[in-house]
């Protein structure tokens, strides 16, 4: 997880860096390329005489179209300015777009207009024309005024196009002031075209704010007074003089400003005119025209000239500016979406391969990426994970690059066209360039982001109109029709949310698979990606079915609630999926309902010590939450045009609920880890919780549950009670002695067979234990009772059943016998030594219940004992060396025998140890000396961290025994060493590997070592040990016991009842009997090394199922009754005397 967070952190940083570098390079290119374009234009036109075409009848005819809406205050002057333009073949079309002011009246009066019959030849569909006016005064014969119903700027321009008679149309905002020679300069590119058709041409727009204007002409140029205005002046210089010139030269220009641009009329008509459904009609038209030409393979050009031709007022209030930029962004998105087919489409040449992708990645995504950067910066700041030198260096670079670009633009503008020629203008512009990144830029970015949000949340006219229409219709319609319509509406809305969910969820699956590939090299060779994808797809569709049904029902009550519930649930599912797969990658365990069987303090300790609660991880989680929720929030207001998507999702949910997944994949793989990697973590989590819920609320589900198991009580209500008849298998191996030997049980955290035995599939990484095993009674095939530590104490010392979630998880422990209380009864002094918190997993409850004399946990330690290294400010507790030394320190020599249990800790996740470098080196030496096969070597290297901690434990044990040997009581002590379970963090080859742990009984009293090959379990240890003491030293043991195990002589043989294995606190799905292993309903046949092969032996399966169910029933029964054995037996033993 830490590594994942680190990698995500690095990926985020690198993505931003690469994006910034891309922008940096693009801007360098734009700067250089634009300089060339501007210079070339300047050189080409130094001596150009434009005037001769002004009166030339052979010059092309141009139609200037100016839409006007509520421009009554200035329209007369504006039209006068247009009429003064010096060009012979020109008509001026003013389109009054349904103004609500007196614009028309003023025009009629000022220019002596009269309404005339006019046959509109253009075929672009527009709003209705109310009238076409021409002047009775021949001086204004160029003027045509069209009065039409309001339809927006694009519609007004389309009317102008329909009416125009020119070869080219020039579209301008009516409030723009044109330079006298603007039309001449604009006409030149069209007149110069030869092999390539010029389809559109734009010029530079400058700011009229604060300029002196007389008779519709700019007579004195000044910079705007406000900083906001100046910053826009600078922005316009950058955009027009650099950006558009570079793109024009590169034949990649897709935007001619709506404020002033000329177009080839025939192409405009052929393309269908301006799109009235977008707010970015200017850009959309150019893209459509270019697309039209590309599709017909006609050579063409879109040209921008650097001459300042047009003056316009820009907003000097922040609010208006924000609205304008919001609209521009929405226009960009609408255009990009409408022409998405062009994206990276080689058929459209530079348009598809460069221009459109550039606009997508940098003009559309730019503000979003920048905004995300601010957000991530704040998060990093909040969590204190900013590398300040890096931040300041990068920040300075970004700001200074922006300033450099602006100053460069000023320079290029200066050398090409000196608009701002006053002395102070240059210094003001430079000051503006320095301030702009801190004031203007954030406003523009914010408005752009808001534009994106508004676009996706449909914050524009027709969305609201649709809703209104629905409500009005709803009142009049009959119930069934209304119901149908409401359902259809809900399905359309659900379709969007479902699509977003599906995409986000499958992205998380993709990340999951990528992460496995990155983390576990051996998974790359095993192709379980398909299974992972399909299983998750199944789950996603089923989640959609569930969510969809709830949504459809809930929306009848409240659409807001339905939306909220669905969005929150789906966001949770996506976020949780990341947590689940990261948990699996970190622990190699599937997370199930066991999550809920740890209390808050335990959970906090687990998270703290594993380093999960680091700032980075929390930051990552917050980012993830936002990243998952935002798309839902943005899209939840939208709905599709069709119900079929939503319906399709529901149908797929139904299909996947009934079509078994197994038909696609055979489950013959032995490697449990690989199998689990290919499973949907969410399905497991969900199923696990559902099963537990059903079990805990069995009353509700009585009708559904299988009650075939005989519920009769075989033993008067104490199903585990039986007469003690365990054979003494150990006595024969030990020398006779008069003194009762001491017993020390060392339970090693996570000590699996795979890496503690020469026969293990990883290799032997416990040289000391191995050497000890050769001098001991050694069981190769020993099983722990659980996949976690929670069951080891009750099983190992009491051969006790589990109860529903582990014996120790019961509210109160039922009276029972265990090694502690039985041996204490026989005069042993007892103790439990643990470096961590003994209350974890309720261990202290068990120790206290058993009346243990010494409970030594982390609270008993102090320096010089060393804690394990901290992670995230937390440590699990004291290292193993400390536990062993503490034991030696506290356990002095005594006459009476003692029994102690030592539980180690260092080999627990996150496997941090002191003196790591030393054991690292030891690990390398060990790997070199073992001459491992290629596979084993791969396993070992992949799990180095875990194995280094194992080597540390082994070394601690070696030191412990070395110290013990010097003690007088060493010769009269039995040492039992075992693991509580195998580490799930080291990939398991089979399900049995989780439970396969070593079992060694060493003592100087041993006559000779012996290796046992029968399969035994932790359940067998307490019965056998007590049998040994009873038979050889006459210890008083209970006559009736509730041992689950039959002793080490029997193990899981035919004479036993078989044993159940509990993987986690909520998962009781494994049962072992004879050489069979029943796991999740599947039957495996075990060989002599506990490797399982999937078999289909019906009778054996039935047998194990029956025994398993019987065990479960007994297990449940004792828990329900809260008693394992009659009080009389319990009291009788402790109150009685040895007969």
């Amino acid at each position: 997880m830490i590594e994942f967070a680190h990698i995500v952190y690095e990926i985020v940083i690198w993505l931003f860096l690469l994006y910034s570098a891309a922008i940096f390079l693009i801007y360098i290119w734009v700067g250089l390329y634009a300089y060339g374009a501007v210079s070339r234009y300047k050189h080409d036109n130094t001596f150009t005489d434009y005037n001769f075409i002004a009166t030339n009848t052979d010059a092309p005819t141009l139609s200037l179209i100016a839409p006007a809406f509520n421009e009554g205050m200035t329209i007369i002057d504006n039209v006068r300015s247009l009429l003064s333009i010096y060009y012979h073949n020109l008509e001026i079309i003013i389109v009054n777009d349904g103004s609500r002011d007196d614009s028309m009246q003023k025009l009629i009066e000022a220019y002596n207009l009269e309404s005339i019959s006019f046959f509109v030849q253009g075929n672009i569909k527009t709003k209705q024309i109310r009238g076409v006016y021409k002047s009775k005064n021949p001086a204004f014969k160029k003027l045509i005024v069209v009065d039409k119903e309001n339809g927006g700027k694009a519609d007004a321009l389309n009317v102008g196009v329909n009416i125009s008679s020119g070869d080219y149309i020039v579209c301008i905002d009516v409030d723009c002031i044109l330079e006298q020679d603007a039309i001449l300069k604009l006409a030149k590119p069209f007149l110069e075209q030869t092999d390539k058709q010029v389809i559109a041409c734009g010029g530079v727009i400058r700011l009229a704010n604060n300029c002196k204007i007389e008779n519709g002409k700019v007579v004195e140029v000044n910079l705007p007074k406000s900083w906001l205005g100046r910053m826009q002046a600078l922005e316009y210089i950058r955009a027009f003089v650099l950006g558009r010139m570079a793109w024009s030269r590169a034949s990649g220009l897709i935007l001619i400003s709506g404020a002033f641009g000329a177009f080839d009329k025939q192409i405009v008509l052929a393309c269908g005119g301006y799109d009235t459904t977008t707010v970015g009609e200017d850009m959309e038209l150019v893209v459509r025209m270019r697309r039209y030409m590309e599709e017909r393979g006609r050579p063409y050009e879109v040209v921008n000239i650097p001459d300042p031709l047009c003056w316009t007022e820009v907003p000097e209030s922040k609010e208006v500016l924000k609205k304008q930029r919001n609209r521009w962004m929405r226009g960009t998105i609408e255009t990009l979406w409408k022409h998405r087919k062009l994206m990276f489409n080689p058929r459209y040449g530079r348009l598809g391969l460069i221009s459109v992708p550039y606009w997508f990645f940098f003009e559309f995504l730019g503000p979003l990426v920048e905004f995300a950067g601010y957000f991530i910066f704040l998060l990093f700041l909040f969590f204190g994970i900013i590398n300040w030198p890096f931040f300041f260096a990068l920040f300075a670079l970004v700001i200074s690059s922006g300033i450099l670009y602006s100053i460069y633009a000023i320079l290029v503008d200066l050398v090409s066209h000196q608009v701002y020629s006053k002395k102070q203008d240059l210094s003001k512009l430079i000051a503006t360039a320095i301030l702009e990144p801190f004031y203007f830029h954030p406003i523009v970015v914010g408005a752009g982001v808001r534009g994106v949000v508004d676009y996706f949340r449909k914050k524009h006219g027709w969305g609201e109109m649709t809703r209104q229409g629905f409500q009005q219709a709803a009142i009049e319609e009959p119930f069934t029709k209304r119901l149908g319509r409401q359902l259809a509406f809900a399905l359309r809305n659900f379709g969007v949310i479902a699509l977003v969910f599906l995409i986000l969820y499958m992205i998380s699956v993709g990340v999951e698979w990528w992460w496995y590939g990155h983390r576990f090299t051996h998974l790359a060779a095993v192709n379980t990606g398909g299974q992972l994808l399909l299983d998750n797809l199944y789950f996603a569709f089923q989640a959609l079915l569930g969510g969809g049904i709830i949504y459809l029902v809930l929306q009848f009550i409240s659409r807001w609630w339905a939306n909220t519930v669905l969005v929150v649930s789906f966001s949770f599912i996506v976020v949780m999926h990341y947590i689940l797969f990261l948990y699996f990658a970190e622990s190699r365990n599937l997370l199930g309902a066991d999550l809920f069987y740890y209390n808050i303090a335990e959970m906090k300790q687990i998270l703290d010590t594993s380093g999960m609660l680091s700032f980075t991880n929390i930051a990552l989680l917050v980012v993830l939450l936002v990243a998952c929720y935002l798309p839902f929030w943005i899209f939840s207001k939208r709905s599709l045009n069709t119900v079929y998507v939503g319906l399709g999702m529901l149908v797929l949910g139904i299909v996947t609920s009934f079509l078994p997944l197994d038909i696609f994949f055979s489950s013959t793989k032995n490697d449990l880890f690989v199998q689990n990697a290919g499973r949907s973590k969410w399905r497991y989590f969900f199923d696990s919780n559902l099963t537990i819920y059903i079990e805990e609320h069995s009353g509700m589900f009585t009708g559904w549950l299988d009650n075939e198991v005989d519920s009769t009580n075989p033993n008067d209500g104490f199903p585990f009670l039986r007469k003690e008849d365990t054979k003494d298998i150990l006595g024969g191996y030990f020398k006779n002695t008069d003194t009762v030997p001491n017993l020390v049980i060392i339970i090693v955290e996570g000590l699996g067979h795979a890496y503690s035995s020469p026969l293990g599939y990883v290799g032997n990484f416990t040289p000391f234990i191995d050497s000890l095993a050769k001098q001991s009674l050694h069981w190769e095939n020993n099983l722990s009772s659980s996949g976690r530590t929670f069951a080891v104490l009750p099983t190992l010392t009491g051969s006790l059943p589990f109860g529903p979630h582990g014996f120790l998880e019961q509210d109160s422990l039922p009276p029972h016998f265990n090694l502690f209380n039985v041996l204490k009864k026989n005069g042993f002094s007892t103790g439990f030594f643990y470096g961590g918190d003994a209350s974890f997993d309720q261990m202290s409850k068990f120790i206290n219940y058993s009346g243990v004399d010494k409970l030594i946990d982390q609270n008993a330690f102090s320096p010089p004992y060393k804690k394990l290294p901290e992670q995230g400010g937390e440590s699990w507790g004291y290292e193993d060396q400390a536990v062993f030394n503490k034991f030696i320190e506290l356990q002095g020599l005594q006459q009476s025998p003692y029994f102690h249990v030592l539980l180690t800790l260092s080999t627990h996740n996150p496997f941090l140890i002191n003196n790591e470098a030393y054991y690292d080196k030891l690990f390398d030496q060990r790997v070199a000396s073992l001459s491992l096969a290629a596979d084993n070597r791969k396993w070992a290297l992949e799990n180095k961290k875990q194995l280094v901690s194992v080597l540390n434990l082994d070394d601690a044990l070696r030191q412990f025994f070395a110290a013990y040997q010097k003690r007088a009581d060493f010769g009269n002590t039995l040492f039992l060493i075992t693991g509580d379970h195998a580490m799930p963090e080291i990939p398991l080859q089979s399900k049995m590997d989780r439970y396969h742990v070593p079992l060694i009984i060493y003592s100087p009293l041993l006559k000779e070592p012996h290796t046992f090959l029968n399969t035994v379990s932790h359940f067998d240890i307490a019965p056998s040990l007590l049998a040994y003491y009873r038979e050889n030293f006459g210890l008083y043991t209970p006559s009736h016991v509730t041992w689950v195990g039959r002793g080490l002589a029997e193990g899981i043989s035919e004479k036993s009842n078989g044993i159940a294995l509990m993987q986690s606190k909520n998962q009781l799905s494994d049962f072992v009997y004879r050489n069979y292993h029943l796991s999740d309903g599947k039957l495996y046949k075990l060989d002599k090394r506990l490797n399982g092969d999937l078999i289909s032996d019906v009778s054996a399966r039935e047998l194990l199922l029956h025994r398993f169910e019987t065990f479960k029933h007994k297990n449940k029964f004792f828990h329900t009754k809260k008693k394992l054995l009659p009080d009389s037996v319990y009291r009788g033993y402790f109150e009685g005397r040895k007969p």
Binding site: D58, S115, I116, S117, F119, L191, Q193, F390, L397, I403
Partner: protein, 354 residues
């Protein structure tokens, strides 16, 4: 094995780029101020140069006498360029004696040398500037060099050479059209057309060749030339172009026929009308409108009634109005059984008040 970049290395890389950016910023800033000074001085130079030109024009030969101080200033190349620019602009602005005085300034201050030098440059805009200046100064010695530049690969150079050579030699300078392969843009055609003030005696042979040139733009230019000089002898050649494959050529041919109109023109245009593309049909109707020939009246009526294209109907109606057929059209417009479309077309053509 890939080297893993550390954060320290990244910081160093960023700082290096940052230093570069800062250095560049300082450079750009300094250059901007320098340029600003140049431009500021340039404004003063323009004023000085214009003053010099004005003095020369106003005072005649006295004003045009050599000014040593001014000559010293001209050693500055930027100033020299500014002065040259002012002279070229003034040459265009003035004519007659004033223009001669401007020309005199070229010679006095030996601006010719600078122009000659430009012809040797590699940059096309400098060569083009040199050609223009030599042409404005009427340096006839430069004609061979300019002719050699007619085949220059750069458009800017050969276009300027074409323009200059026509400026020097008038119609004779157009002989490059005989071999011209690249298209002649409308812009260039209009410039050239303006430069041809009169025709030599032997123009016919060249022009006939140009009218059958494979270069479409050469044909169009020739048609414009015919229109400009009303060259009636080419009437039949122009008629032959009505069937040209290029719509632009045929439209230009119709327009030229209108300029050369004789008694047969209307009939000829009516005769070919049906076979022409839409653009040519509209041009024919415009020509008929201009010619106001009563013979075309039935034809125009027919087009109004039966031609399916609205634009043709409108053009026909407008031509009928030019023929004085207001009452005819108004009667139709007032007749109930006439299709609405025709009524609207007529009202449009009549620009009837509503």
């Amino acid at each position: 094995m890939l080297h893993r970049v550390t954060i320290h290395e990244l910081v160093i890389a960023i700082v290096v780029v940052l230093i570069l950016v800062l250095l560049l910023t300082i450079t750009v800033l300094s250059y901007s101020f320098y340029k600003y000074r140049i431009l500021y001085r340039r404004q003063a130079w323009v004023q000085t140069s214009e003053q010099k030109v004005m003095e020369a024009i106003v005072r005649g030969e006295d004003g045009a006498s050599l000014d040593e101080t001014f000559l010293m200033q001209l050693r500055e190349p930027s100033f020299r360029n500014v002065f040259l620019g002012v002279l070229v602009a003034s040459d265009r602005k003035f004519s007659g004696v004033a223009r001669n005085e401007v020309n005199n300034l070229f010679k006095i201050y030996k601006m010719e040398d600078a122009a000659w030098q430009k012809l040797q440059q590699k940059k096309s805009y400098l060569i083009a500037g040199g050609i223009l200046e030599l042409a404005v100064m009427r340096v006839e010695d430069a004609i061979p060099d300019i002719i050699s530049l007619l085949d220059h690969p750069k458009r800017q150079v050969y276009q300027e050479a074409q323009y200059a050579i026509v400026g020097f030699k008038g119609f004779d300078g157009l002989d490059f059209l005989n071999t011209l392969v690249v298209p002649l843009s409308d812009w260039q055609q209009l410039r050239l057309l303006r430069s041809v003030a009169k025709l030599p005696d032997a123009y016919e042979k060249w022009m006939k060749n140009w009218l059958i040139s494979p270069n479409e733009s050469v044909i169009i230019f020739t048609l414009r030339l015919i229109r400009k000089f009303q060259l009636l002898p080419f009437y039949n050649d122009v008629v032959n172009l009505l069937d040209h494959a290029s719509v632009t050529v045929s439209v230009q041919a119709i327009r030229t026929l209108a300029a050369l109109e004789n008694v047969d023109t209307v009939y000829q245009l009516i005769a070919i009308f049906a076979t022409q593309p839409h653009e040519s049909q509209i041009e024919i109707l415009r020509t008929l409108k201009k010619s106001r020939s009563p013979q075309s009246e039935p034809f125009l009526q027919e087009q109004l009634w039966y031609n399916p294209a609205i634009s043709v109907k409108i053009a026909a109606a407008e031509a009928l109005i030019a023929l004085g057929q207001h009452s005819y059209l108004k009667n139709i417009a007032a007749t109930e059984i006439v299709p609405l479309e025709i009524k609207q077309v007529i009202k449009h053509a009549l620009q009837e008040k509503v």
